[in-house]
């Protein structure tokens, strides 16, 4: 039995598959592919898959991963991406499969590529949007309300912005790195919504997760 991690991209219409539904889609794909994976042995037996870091509804991703155990030690891992891809919707593409290196708990941060535009076309120029965004991120503190288990809490996002970089080009696009993982996870929408509120303009954000990193800054693998 081998612990295996597959990496996949999620885009297009598949951005709108929730985490729970992604689980179902993957189980069906594994079933259809005929891949022999470990099943739970309890009362309600089922194929066992886990996801290291859930992805919010509506986000695209270049770096999702799913873990399972293959029963056959001689299973050809390099063939698994193709086998799964032929059983998955277009918007989910597996590009790599290998034995897992890190534990899911090793995840420390994630990088997002964000592209902003006003919900109503032309309400604000991309140039102005970029200027205001840079100024906003430069503020000494960015207090937002975050939903926690104990209710709403004021949180300063500023120390959590691990990196912020405007992308070259005409659009209001930027890269943003935030804490991620099971202990502390900051959703980029917290910052984007706070920014939209501060300028009083309804914004649409196209968000793609482009990297997941461990504490040492290594790619999660």
């Amino acid at each position: 039995m081998k612990n295996v991690r597959v990496f996949y991209r999620k885009f297009g219409s598949c951005k709108y598959i929730s985490h729970l539904d992604t689980n179902r889609v993957m189980l069906r794909a594994i079933g259809k592919s005929g891949l022999n994976i470990w099943r739970t042995e309890g009362f309600n037996q089922h194929a066992y898959i886990t996801f290291a870091l859930p992805l919010s509804l509506g986000f695209g991703s270049e770096c999702e991963s799913m873990d399972f155990r293959v029963l056959d030690d001689n299973e050809d891992l390099s063939a698994i991406p193709d086998r799964l891809n032929s059983c998955l919707p277009e918007g989910i593409r597996v590009f790599r499969c290998a034995e897992s290196v890190h534990k899911p708990a090793a995840i420390d941060s994630a990088k997002y590529a964000v592209s902003l535009e006003p919900m109503t076309e032309g309400e604000i120029s991309f140039e102005e949007l970029k200027q205001k965004l840079t100024a906003f991120v430069d503020l000494p503190e960015i207090i937002v309300q975050k939903k926690t288990k104990k209710g709403m809490k004021d949180v300063d996002l500023k120390p959590y912005i691990l990196s912020f970089e405007i992308r070259e080009g005409e659009k209001a696009a930027f890269d943003l790195t935030l804490p991620a993982g099971s202990t502390l996870n900051i959703n980029p929408n917290l910052l984007i919504n706070a920014f939209a509120d501060s300028i009083g303009i309804e914004l649409y954000a196209d968000i793609t997760r482009v990297g997941i990193f461990t504490k040492d800054g290594e790619d999660f693998a």
């Binding site: 709108y16 929730s18 539904d21 069906r28 079933g31 259809k32 009362f43 309600n44 059983c87």
Partner: protein, 619 residues
């Protein structure tokens, strides 16, 4: 696919996965290379529509033809509808993302009367003129089929063509005709006239209806050589009938998220309240080999690990146990579980239980339909109390503790005493639990009693009957509650659910309505009415105002007793069962007399004319 403008709106609505397509199994073609584009519209949400078997059969059937591209369209939920209207985005099809107005055919499935309002709303959202008479040129042909097409009169102003009966052949014949007409440059009118000559096709605009002073129908007169009586289509050989080996597999969870395998069409029983039992006659079975093969392919292609065997009454399949064994020969090793819905009380056996038993013991559901034996005889639900108790005992011994019982109130000939028998029957099931020695220990039983309100339907022996008034139905609901209290039935062990009688009332009006209801449909649409099947949207008050505005009394349709010789709005449609037979059955109901089922004795319903199925089985 979805229009680019939609992207920004998707995260503002609930369940955006409903609107984006891109599922495994969807069929994408090059629109320049097809002659006919068909928008298959389900007038309800994605989760409901994608659970429907008919759409899956026809979707695959159409798309197997290289010249047709069939796409799916569902009713947007109210939050998305609001965004679409605000941003001027017309209703689109999920495969191409193209608006409804790009299609040659706009086809609706008529599953329940309460979805009619969504049809009008979808046409409007798709920028298709609502009224047939306002649609010109040979495009935007609005067609409809499904069970409610057996009395389509309330929506004849909006639909150009109705398909009666099984759609597998007739739909294709009409599309082939359309393709030729388009090539020959024929007009819309010519096409419709030619289509009316195809068996199973009803073109309502070719019929004039006249009325008596009392509001009943005087006559229905065909024009332009249209047939005086339109016959339904029937697929007689189910093994050779088309069945898809793949489904579009939704990415989001839907109501019935599993593979579905049809095992037979029709029902031998002839329960007098049940429209499906008469519309789909005669019973036509698929062979065990055919079912197993189709079902296996379906599971492999979709990746589903659960398959539901579909029919009107699974345990009436002649080879049910051999079938389950055959299916399990591959299903068990492949970790596929079987479910067998629509089990009759008298068809439940240890053998069946063993084959469908899964680790998850969900409850069992039975439908005695009426509380007293007298009333069960009157409605021809040939189920006896001791059978129910035996069945429950088998279930309890098998480890089940939850039993759901479905009933109807408002059945013809029903008395308050019959009504009181409903909770008392539930109580007897509880008693059976405690008297079963091998019952699950340490668990308490749970019986759920549900009562819905009876709606008289066309092509049933009760098609002439009045529906109980809403006041009387409410009184009966209260009577059940009171009987529970009087008999000290613990609400912890037995719960009682009932459906709101308001929706049943509207259903009753449209089920047996005539063409004058078209005006009410249009008025209701103008008042923003849609999603009547959903409690969060339905308002009977709004409907009553629409009736009032049109000067039409809904009680005329719902609560009036028709005489046996009245011309009924659907008399020019032929579903095989004769009016004489239905009348005989109705009269037997009045004397609380049950009738034998098709396998016991032929009652001469009229369906022997199809020359096959159960009518010609060896007895």
């Amino acid at each position: 696919m979805y229009p680019a403008k939609v992207e920004k709106l998707l995260l503002k609505v609930q369940k955006p996965g409903r609107y984006v397509g891109g599922e495994l199994g969807e069929v994408i073609k090059d629109k320049r290379e097809v002659d006919v584009r068909f928008a298959f519209c389900f007038p309800d949400t994605y989760e409901i529509g994608m659970s429907h078997l008919g759409i899956k059969i026809l979707y695959s059937l159409f798309n197997e033809k290289p010249y047709i591209w069939c796409e799916r369209v569902f009713a947007p939920w109210i939050d998305m509808e609001e965004e679409m209207r605000a941003h001027d985005i017309p209703l689109w099809a999920l495969e191409s993302g193209d608006p409804l107005s790009d299609f040659d055919f706009i086809g609706f499935t008529l599953q329940y009367e309460l979805s009619y309002s969504n049809i009008l709303n979808m046409l409007e959202l798709g920028n298709i003129p609502l009224l047939s008479k306002d649609r010109h040129d040979l495009k935007h042909i609005v067609v409809a089929g499904g069970p409610c097409a057996c009395n389509p009169e309330p929506i004849t102003d909006f639909i150009d063509i109705f398909f009666l009966g099984d759609g597998e052949e007739v739909d294709l014949e009409v599309m082939e005709l359309y393709r030729e007409c388009k090539k020959d440059g024929k007009s819309r009118e010519e096409f419709l006239r030619l289509a009316s000559q195809i068996k199973g096709v009803y073109v309502p605009s070719l019929y004039d209806v006249s009325y008596h002073d009392d509001g009943t129908i005087e006559s229905v007169t065909p024009r332009d050589n249209a047939p005086a009586v339109i016959e339904k289509r029937v697929m007689m050989n189910m093994d050779e009938s088309y069945y898809p080996d793949n489904f579009v597999v939704p990415n989001i969870e839907i109501v019935h998220d599993r593979a579905v395998q049809e095992i037979f069409r029709g029902c031998i029983r002839g329960c007098r309240f049940c429209q499906a039992g008469f519309l789909y006659r005669p019973v036509r079975e698929k062979s065990v080999e055919c079912i197993s093969e189709q079902c296996h392919a379906l599971c492999r292609n979709t990746g589903y690990d659960e398959v539901s065997l579909s029919s009107l009454s699974s345990s009436d399949y002649t080879q049910v146990v051999p079938l389950l064994r055959e299916l399990n020969s591959w299903a068990k090793p492949e970790n596929v579980s079987l479910s067998l819905p629509s089990l009759r009380v008298d068809g439940f056996s240890d053998d069946i239980l063993n084959e469908i038993k899964t680790v998850r013991k969900s409850g069992l559901t039975f439908a005695p339909e009426a509380g007293s034996q007298r009333l069960r005889n009157a409605i021809n639900k040939n189920v006896f109390e001791d059978e129910l108790m035996n069945t429950c005992r088998v279930a309890f011994e098998g480890g089940y503790t939850t039993v759901k019982l479905y009933f109807m109130i408002g059945l013809p000939t029903e008395t308050m005493d019959d009504v009181a028998q409903i909770p008392l029957l539930g109580k007897k099931v509880l008693d059976t639990f405690y008297s079963t020695p091998n019952r699950p220990k340490g668990k308490s039983p749970r019986v759920t009693v549900s009562a819905s309100s009876f709606v008289p339907k066309p092509f049933t022996p009760f098609q002439w009957e009045p529906q109980d008034t809403m006041d009387l139905l409410r009184e009966k609901q209260q009577h059940i509650k009171q009987t529970m209290i009087d008999n000290h039935i613990s609400p912890g062990k037995m719960s009682y659910n009932y459906h709101d009688s308001d929706t049943s009332y509207l259903e009753a009006v449209f089920a047996r309505g005539d063409r004058r209801l078209n005006a009410v449909m249009l008025e209701a649409h103008k008042r923003g009415i849609r999603f009547d099947g959903w409690n969060d949207c339905f308002s009977l008050q709004n409907w009553l105002e629409a009736f009032e505005a049109c000067g039409i009394d809904p009680a005329f349709y719902a609560n009036r007793r028709r005489s046996f010789d009245e011309v009924l709005p659907w008399d020019h449609l032929d579903y095989g069962v004769t009016k004489e037979f239905l009348r005989r059955e109705c009269e037997r109901a009045y004397s609380s007399e049950a009738s034998p089922n098709c396998r016991e004795k032929c009652l001469g319903c009229g369906c022997t004319k199809y020359k096959g199925g159960v009518c010609y089985e060896k007895r």
